[in-house]
């Protein structure tokens, strides 16, 4: 029996090791790569992210990965964006000026609030009936960001509150974004990754 393969999209920014190790210990075959021919062989793509939106999008374009990811989404391949990776799924961001995103889940990334940082452990608010995040509906996860996605309600699966309520899990078909770091959220993060990846692979 062959293990399911996860391609971790490497665009030269951020820490892929934590994501790789977490997914590997969950039993998946994992590959960190920017090569389309290697990503093509994987069952699910993960777009991680640490840093500022413009620098990350620039790095994505420089490697030709924006076109690849859009084509993968059009082909209904499952895709999970983590933290900045979730934000890049949106249409645009205002971080350091207006920058277009991948446009895979409708939405816009804007500052949570003037001088507001969302750093640390916060609970998420989701429907217990949701097939992907229902079991994590009241769990706390580790957040580290100051910009957040604003999207139409039909794409928002879970929310968190810091001054205002904003989406922290978004979904459009087999594309999911999570604003927090499940790979750094201890047992709660492992459970959530298990549910999301299992759900997407069987969707």
């Amino acid at each position: 029996m062959s293990r399911r393969g996860i391609g971790i999209v490497d665009y030269g920014v951020g820490n892929h090791t934590s994501v790789w190790r977490t997914l590997y210990t969950l039993g998946y075959r994992c590959k960190v790569t920017s090569r389309p021919e290697e990503l093509d062989t994987m069952d699910l793509l993960v777009l991680p992210g640490v840093g500022a939106f413009p620098a990350a999008m620039q790095a994505i374009h420089a490697r030709g990965l924006a076109t690849y990811l859009r084509a993968a989404a059009a082909a209904d391949r499952p895709l999970l964006g983590i933290c900045l990776g979730m934000q890049m799924l949106a249409d645009s961001s205002t971080e350091y000026g207006e920058t277009p995103g991948l446009g895979l889940i409708p939405g816009r990334v804007d500052a949570i609030g003037s001088g507001l940082w969302h750093i640390g452990w916060n609970s998420i608010d989701a429907s217990p009936a949701d097939p992907l995040v229902g079991r994590s509906a009241s769990e706390s996860f580790y957040f580290n960001h100051s910009y957040a996605v604003d999207c139409p309600i039909e794409f928002a699966v879970a929310h968190a509150t810091l001054g205002r309520r904003f989406p922290v899990v978004t979904r459009r078909g087999r594309i999911v974004g999570v604003q927090f770091h499940p790979e750094k959220s201890q047992l709660a993060g492992r459970q959530l990754l298990t549910d999301i990846i299992g759900g997407l692979l069987h969707a």
């Binding site: 001088g115 507001l116 201890q186 492992r190």
Partner: protein, 262 residues
């Protein structure tokens, strides 16, 4: 709601985890990766590695220690501080597994590099380490390389206020390693614009932590030596903070701490 955090702090000197006392005396404790692995298992909210000899000796970040930590498969967020000389150093540290970086000497040497680092990693990833004491009713900022005190640089405070740096680690360096000795005046006197301060140095008791967490500017507290003096210290400290918005003590917290035979 967003929880306040209990951060496990590991001081590293010459590649070894040490107990640190007042920025001037150190006792070896063991391999950093062993201490960090325990904090990860015990449910620390974040782990902070402070490699204190790197800037003084112009060695750059302790990449060897980060490489060893990378192999641990940590499930707890990691902050790294020590020897960061440039934005490129900070990015390299994150690529080796740190989630955030902590800068001290760079604040004095090249604030432009801190701004560049913030643009590359995002300000949420940048923490300012500020060794402080109270002298004649005012804050004194310790330059540990020269063993001198100055007033806080307005440019550093501006970087905190304009969003270049997300949080400030206020280190009571005089009382570091002394149980129950943290001077809360350091926090009260610090001109923070909001909830963005991490207190560290001489924090060992739940009652101390509860008083600090009641202050409107404190978002986290770091505990160092004292987590290594007793079993399940994180759980014990958290259990003594019933009124604080904090993740409940968790044990175990990772697959690695759940033996397969269980």
């Amino acid at each position: 709601m967003l929880n306040q955090r209990l951060i496990g702090v590991v001081t590293v000197k010459d590649g070894w985890a040490v107990q640190s006392f007042g920025y001037g005396r150190w006792l070896p404790m063991g391999k950093p990766e062993c201490v960090v692995e325990n904090l990860d298992r015990w449910g620390a909210d974040e782990i902070l590695i402070l490699c204190l000899d790197r800037s003084r000796r112009q060695l750059g970040p302790d990449f060897a220690t980060l490489e060893r930590l990378k192999r641990l498969n940590l499930a707890t967020p990691l902050i790294y501080g020590g020897g960061i000389r440039s934005a490129e150093d900070g990015v390299a540290v994150v690529q080796l597994g740190a989630d955030r970086v902590c800068v001290d000497a760079l604040l004095r040497d090249d604030l432009t590099a801190v701004h560049k680092l913030s643009r590359q990693l995002g300000a949420q990833a940048v923490v300012a380490a500020l060794p402080l004491s109270v002298v004649n009713g005012a804050l004194a900022w310790r330059d540990y390389r020269r063993a001198t005190d100055t007033s806080l640089d307005p440019a550093v405070l501006a970087a905190l206020n304009d969003g270049t740096i997300s949080e400030a680690l206020l280190i009571d360096w005089r009382h570091e390693g002394s149980p129950g000795a943290f001077d809360p005046e350091i926090v009260r006197l610090f001109p923070a614009r909001g909830r963005q301060l991490i207190a560290f140095g001489g924090l060992s008791e739940s009652a101390q932590l509860a008083d600090l967490f009641a202050l409107p500017t404190v978002t986290a507290a770091g505990v160092g030596n004292f987590l290594s003096y007793r079993e399940h210290a994180i759980q014990t400290l958290k259990a003594g903070l019933p009124g604080v918005a904090m993740r409940p003590a968790a044990y175990p917290t990772s697959e690695r701490s759940c033996p397969e035979s269980v």
